[in-house]
Symmetry: C2
Subunit: 409 residues, 2 copies
């Protein structure tokens, strides 16, 4: 067990990434309708031209553009209508000079036609002919075959987060399922003799357990599956047994609590004992988040994380490590951060990276970021905030007017 | 049925809002663990001081700050330890000058103490006394009763979106459930003789139905419940019956398709017939999104929406109307938009508000927004985009270098 010095966030991340390895991620095929917000686990190639026929963008007449040259409001050209293409059917005619075919929006453009005149510019002349009162250029009002997507081209790369529009594009290609990365399966354990569950009786000096609820919600927000959640007393054997049980069903066991001296050691000892080859990070140069412990059991490939007991710190570290790990392993890009101008001076924290909680105040052409101050660990500092900025290690603090990037949470 | 002119987006929203009314929203009490991402339906007041006892922020000794005056590395002061407060229990002693009590992080500060000295600055001197090698000021390392949240104060206002930190704060107060706004219950119907379902055979000229999948995903992304989804042919009676059935179980029936002339009228007629007192918006001055139809059946209080057939336009209008309506009725604030600098010239659209799809390119202190161009209705214009900017009605277009706001989707 390395006890001597804390890791920087980057060191801890690097160790964590190496300890679990790329192959830690499981892949699963899901029906398209369950793919929302999942991350694609493989490159996805187009199997069809989209559209796979030349399609009209308007209700109108498919023509040869050349035939409409010179047509205008007072000088129509006359074309013979040789087909009325129904939506969803194949166009059979071949447009030759002097002829045209009616095509509805989304309908197939017959061979020989190179453009479409909107019905608004046409008028029935006799039973077989229309008068066209406007000229079109070639390609007008037509979507070419493969113009939206070419067959065989890369549709979406591995690591793409699937939004509604990706689902639409996959449906257009006829996909009914996709391969996505499995969610992390997480167990959440809160330890502390002072903890009681909300809704139960409480003795003076006890507090309601916050971390179980808050970390469960945070895990779910990021798409993870919470397979068990437990509140336990600060007893070595109970904690060890609970962690062992959780390891059987989880990719990751998160233990929060143990923020006082003796307890910290207990969580570290349990992790060290259950995760061979032992704890590799014991303390993080992060504010909040110092009392963080990491170990990976190589045999069961279970990640064990000891989080700080302070709810705010526990949530911050959860964002910085498990959430980061999922993004790293899936190749997903983070939600874009928001640029803002800092409103207030913020002292640096020598030797530690710091998460600064801020409120975003909309201004003329951007945001002002107002730091939310308060004693560390107060939940209200987090509920009053819209997001956080990361202030780098050893940075000498930030001054009013400096630009920062805010990650919304 | 008003057929003569299209509504601006604002007019359509105003009519929609008036037609459904505030009381359209249903309220439901949900267990705290199901409250994530829901919107609070009532102001939520604190029922407890948080913390409800003076709490130590460190492992240390609760003291009278005055007793530590002048203490330093080479000049300790000596204090008698009169209690060892266990976590989760009531402190019983009363600190008087010359005495102190051990308190772990999160433990209760005994009466009479006004600050806490970290154990790192203390040393056991004999069996009853410690040597203190550092001075503290009053209030140091203590969280005062109610400092995080005062009993009776407004914890969260109606309209607050419940994030993990709100769940944490509610758990701290002992809440096990909260009243939230019910999700919209939506039925999604796609019409079109050209549509086949992904995974089935397809004739030449037919296309896979995109809108059912894409709109379902979009609805779910915004927390709505999709209670039915159907693809139907362009037959008046079938469409009417399908809409009628859907109205029995839904707050809102969304019909997409009917983008060609004859079909548009069909959807409008069905809505006009089923939603007394009839269609109130027929056409929207929005690009994309013109062929939009709105009606509310006053008796069943069901909203009927005819969306454009083009998937991109259908999704855009869904964001602009149902999603907007939910935010309007719940009082929820939108996710913050992202300020960016436009990279490229964009022509305006006389008489229509326009949604411009953009890619966000991170730059030094903010983003460049690169317009994603392409023929209207191409799904790739939406999959390549990170979000959209709204370009106002009659605006003469935008030029490279102008600041815009981008809503990420």
């Amino acid at each position: 067990m390395e006890l001597l010095r804390v890791d920087t966030l980057e060191e801890a991340r690097e160790k964590l990434y190496r300890a679990v390895g790329e192959e830690w991620m499981k892949i699963r095929e899901v029906p398209l309708e369950e793919a929302l917000d999942k991350i694609l686990a493989e490159d996805c190639f187009s199997v069809l031209d989209i559209p796979d026929f030349r399609r009209s963008m308007v209700d109108g007449y498919a023509v040869k553009a050349k035939d409409t040259m010179g047509a205008g409001e007072n000088l129509p050209v006359f074309l013979k209508v040789i087909e009325d293409v129904a939506i969803g059917t194949e166009a059979c005619s071949k447009i030759v000079p002097g002829t045209c075919a009616y095509v509805p929006t989304g309908g197939m453009i017959p061979e020989g036609a190179d453009s479409c005149v909107m019905v608004e510019y046409c008028e029935a002349f006799d039973e077989t002919q229309i008068a066209v009162y406007g000229a079109v250029s070639p390609g007008r009002n037509i979507v070419e075959q493969g113009e939206d997507c070419k067959k065989g081209s890369l549709l979406f790369a591995r690591g793409t987060r699937i939004r509604p529009q990706e689902i639409g594009a996959l449906a257009a290609e006829g996909f009914t399922s996709v391969k996505v990365f499995d969610a992390f399966r997480i167990s959440i354990i809160s330890t502390g003799d002072e903890l009681t569950e909300p809704g139960t009786d409480r003795e003076r000096g006890q507090i309601y357990d916050i971390n179980t609820s808050a970390l469960t919600a945070l895990a779910r927000k990021h798409g993870f599956v919470v397979c068990s959640r437990r509140t336990v007393k600060d007893e070595y054997d109970t904690l060890k047994r609970t962690v062992q049980e959780a390891m059987c069903t989880s990719d990751m066991v998160v233990i929060s609590g143990g923020s006082s001296k003796g307890k910290k050691d207990m969580t570290a000892q349990v992790i060290d004992e259950l995760a061979a080859p032992g704890v590799f990070t014991h303390g993080l140069a992060l504010k909040p988040g110092k009392p963080t412990i990491l170990g990976v059991d190589e045999q069961s490939r279970t990640l064990l994380i000891g989080l700080p007991g302070h709810p705010v710190a526990a949530m911050a570290v959860f964002e910085m490590l498990p959430v980061w790990l999922y993004q790293k392993l899936t190749g997903e890009s983070k939600r874009p951060a928001i640029p803002a101008i800092l409103q207030g001076n913020v002292p640096g924290t020598p030797g530690r990276k710091m998460l600064l909680f801020v409120e975003l105040l909309p201004a003329q052409e951007g945001y002002l970021a107002k730091p939310v101050f308060g004693k560390s660990g107060l939940m209200s500092t987090m509920t009053r905030a819209d997001g956080y900025a990361v202030i780098e290690l050893n940075q000498e603090g930030l001054k009013t007017g400096e630009p920062i990037w805010v990650q919304v949470f």
